[in-house]
Symmetry: C2
Subunit: 169 residues, 2 copies
């Protein structure tokens, strides 16, 4: 009873302070052991894309090592330590601009982590994906990366990366 009251008070105080009241649910690693990179939402932009085969909009963000590589034009190969995040949403039509497609339902966040020593079997890249807003790990076992790596074969000559950094002034 006393504990319940303490929790309620904390909720009231946080609410009064206008603080975000989010449950911090831990995100489990994917079956190859990769943990979700923290703070990826704060990373800088590399590019965006729109896939009409599965009707999704994507933004590609990079950690500091990846962004530095982009700005120096050193992305083939990407340096060890580079991480790219691809954030994917279902297409949605803008309610006031019908020819604009905008991000709808969140689909997943997926990552490529460059470590040319650790991930020699998959082109130097560790692959990982977490599904939906609850960020469920993707893959039944560690072999799921074969699906990722298989799909990336057409861009072998681009260090297995589909993303081309967008041109900025």
């Amino acid at each position: 009873m006393k504990i319940k009251m303490i929790f309620l008070s904390a909720a009231v105080i946080m609410s009064a302070l206008g603080m975000a009241w989010a449950l911090s649910i831990p995100v489990r690693p994917v079956p190859n052991g990769i943990e979700i990179p923290k703070g990826y939402r704060d990373w800088k932009i590399i590019a965006s894309s729109h896939r009409t085969d599965n009707n999704t909009l994507r933004v590609i963000l990079g950690n500091d090592t990846a962004i530095q590589a982009v700005r120096y034009g050193k992305t083939n190969p990407w340096p060890d330590g580079s991480i790219m995040a691809k954030i994917v949403w279902k297409d949605k039509t803008h309610e006031k601009w019908p020819t604009a497609t905008i991000p709808g339902e969140f689909v997943h966040a997926e990552f490529m982590i460059k470590d040319s020593t650790k991930y020699t079997k998959t082109g130097g890249w560790g692959f990982a994906r977490w599904l939906g807003l609850t960020q469920q790990p993707y893959g039944k076992d560690a072999d799921f990366v074969q699906e990722c790596f298989g799909c990336h074969q057409p861009v072998k000559d681009n260090d297995y990366v589909f993303t081309h950094p967008a041109v900025f002034p």
Copy 2:
């Protein structure tokens, strides 16, 4: 001759250090006096979009005030000090994934700057746009903002903003 050699030496040194060799051309303000916000390329992501009426891909980034507003869900109205950058590229088809549209030629960077005191005539927003990689100011005179503001009338009830922040986990 001596000056030329000094320039050459500087170029060689910078090149040897792997530094980006970019000419720093000052960007002129737009006709309403707004200066281009510095460092917008480093801002965090709010959303993306794809316009099929003019075949452009866009990412919408925000300064710290805008991002804080997004994360607290306080974006109608947006707080004073919020700045949104919309970065626009021409559509390009991915050479290895034909159903993927990716950023091609850079078109422009445009901004909405919230100051409910300064920009009372245009819904509390200052509008600005710079064209192309040379970032040429858009607009013949200060009245160019009427074009911007006119186009944003359909979203008057959303504080004149088309962008809906994308949902993140």
